[in-house]
Symmetry: D2
């Protein structure tokens, strides 16, 4: 049984994490801490790992406390720059058994989609990305779609694959989408959609499609729980959930 403390436990995200920990058969929620609560309860409750979804202003103090007390940490709070990561590495150097995982994205599906797309990309002549979101989204393409296209382009460059075929010689502006590192990205905006992405890969006579549909905020909880399960075995600093997913 992994004993878990949650920091930011009364927040929108933290409360989902609490529910997820309580529902997990191999975990026990031993401390639910939020602004104004004492961090000491993490120690007295015997938390082996902590999940932090708090605020950039609070997270470094939280992590210093955890590292000092030998508690592993899984962190979804934003605001980590190189200076902060360096500070964390220094602290962790003095606590060689402690693991800290910082991840900007805990959606296992989004990470698998990107990894699979990059792994498959060198084997196909053509790869395009279609992302589909609700029409109140401000940016097009989405950050995930850009990142996916960059990973695809990098994988193809490394493999020495040719540019993609495209005989388009006549048409309307924008029809072929945006160009991200040579990968075409199309942004669909339709009421009723939430957050979806499709990567289409094709060669002679066949296509492979990898699609991720994210319908609810709860989708990040399994990624957090996976992080909690794996972090004890990974002392030091890990950045990115993909590194604790076993298939890589």
């Amino acid at each position: 049984m992994i004993t878990v403390g949650v920091l930011g436990a009364r927040g929108r995200v933290g409360s989902e994490v609490c529910r997820g920990v309580e529902a997990a058969a191999d975990m026990e929620l031993v401390a639910a801490v939020d602004v104004g609560d004492d961090l000491d309860s993490l120690v007295t409750s015997g938390a082996r790992a902590v999940v932090d979804f708090t605020h950039p202003d609070a997270v470094m103090d939280n992590l210093e406390f955890c590292i000092d007390h030998g508690i592993h940490a899984v962190v979804g709070t934003t605001g980590f720059d190189d200076a902060r990561l360096d500070t964390l590495r220094r602290w962790l150097a003095d606590a060689p058994s402690v693991g800290v995982l910082i991840a900007p994205n805990f959606s296992i599906g989004a990470i698998l989609m990107m990894r699979f797309a990059a792994a498959a990309a060198p084997y196909y002549e053509s790869v395009e990305v279609v992302e589909l979101h609700h029409p109140t989204k401000a940016d097009a393409p989405s950050g995930t779609a850009r990142r996916t296209a960059e990973l695809i382009a990098a994988a193809r460059r490394e493999a020495g694959v040719d540019a993609m075929p495209d005989a388009t010689s006549t048409g309307l502006d924008g029809a072929r989408g945006a160009d991200v590192d040579g990968v075409r990205v199309h942004s669909v905006r339709v009421r009723g959609l939430v957050a979806h992405q499709e990567v289409l890969l094709g060669g002679p006579g066949e296509t492979l499609t990898i699609r991720h549909d994210s319908l609810d905020r709860a989708s990040f909880v399994p990624g957090v729980l996976t992080g909690v399960r794996e972090i004890a075995a990974r002392p030091g600093l890990t950045v990115g959930l993909e590194h604790v997913l076993g298939f890589i």
Copy 2:
């Protein structure tokens, strides 16, 4: 049993039509005519209807012969302008029992997709079109996608529907596709694809998707056979297969 003659019977398309007629339980292929053959065989064989996939240079003579002899015609040959259509109407005025169907597209699926998209469009806040083809296609968007977008836009104008929501304020050129009459159209080009189109419609909490996949030239045969079955009941000139599909 409908007795059918095929003009252009040795051509790539005509030969598929011959096979389709022979396979149909309610039809009999009584004449297979091509360049150099005598049209009289249509009469001696007792053809009640003729299918013409020949050449713009030959088709008017063929149709004059059919109309003169009281034979209905289903025509996929191209090259009909207003002058030719007027000539046909004049000939048909003297043969009030004969029906002629001219259609630029015999794919029932493409026609249903366009009709359904236009019928549904006024009920949804957002409608976008994604067409997907092989990368040797020269035009983007496809003609069918443009036509679909125009029909959607017309249906929404007629119903007095508002413009679609789109909060995009930052991004990359082309990400949001081409603008056809206010409808966004995205063109995907991937090796291995043939000819595919998807219309996405969405309102609060739900989306409706209509997708047509055309994988083989044989896809036009059912539309031709439907034309043959229906033409006897539609004297005069009919332009467009949609008019003989019963649901409209």
Copy 3:
């Protein structure tokens, strides 16, 4: 401006309807009534139409009041049997200008999917239904999938279409899905899904797919608003939202 009263206004569904009416440019919410409130406010507020999402025990009294006072009604409350419908018809015979719409399903998307599927079914050799839901659903197939299959089968019978081809001669029990009136229906149950259905139609060389994704309860609101807009022009009793959707 259509003046609208909502009965059951504090319920989960009714409160969504209130929000929808307030957001509609052509409607004004003039009365929000719930248990314990006086129906007279519908009259004093000048409501032209009423939306009723209340309870089988209350709805008949509500409708008698509305019909007596010349107020149209759009009703999503359940529990209507033939006896109740006959009573409504009798009441409406005395109020020839009043319209009442009773609908078991206000999802426009679900209705369009069923209509399009039935309209297209006679033109294709094969039609199958795949419905996909969350794994806590008790019945398989879903009621909507069964109803869709029945409508498809009826449309094909009426058109005199042959049975569908299926050469399956070896395999595992259940692989080919359930048989509903000769139409194969497949039920997928996957965590993360909400309520989705796909109808696949295919003929030589092409397929047509109609898919409905319902992601949020709010999806019924546009159907209710359409009912409110159309009901004044349809005196008497109308059962089923499909009859007020213009394309039929």
Copy 4:
């Protein structure tokens, strides 16, 4: 430049391979051999690797010749049992620089689909397989779908993942598909389809879908060419294309 000989060069598959080798920028077709031709041309032409799509009766003689003459081989011919594989290993022991790749399936897309599905399966509560084929297929589910389900089940067993949730308590026989090692498999048969498969994985709030569409026999050529490129670096016997795809 890799010099390539093709055995079975006039067969339906071999002739596609010849075209693929000729089109590849890094390969040269130096020998096209079929029944009645002399194998010596493989030696005189300087073939570094051979592709064999011949017949179970011929393939062992072909491979003995290749191994004796230091030529690598990529083999799609069927009929390899343990005895034959043991014979090959014995021959290869005496030719330590020669590589032989035997693969039952050269579709890179099918292999990637299976690998990705198995890699992702332990991270999701639910996984189901939907395979879609033309209605003249005799077996349901397809062999690929069964194999995919077995790989998914094995990956979940190894990871100690719980059984999938399924609250179905009422319904029609077959609705929930076939049970392959605890994984539900659904077989759709629709005219116009070729060979398609979809793996749906889902957890709270998200789904991941991996889909493979095979539309044309040419789809195996890239897998064969990948085998030719990699085989020189893999002396000894390799069974299964997945082992030469770099991402594993």
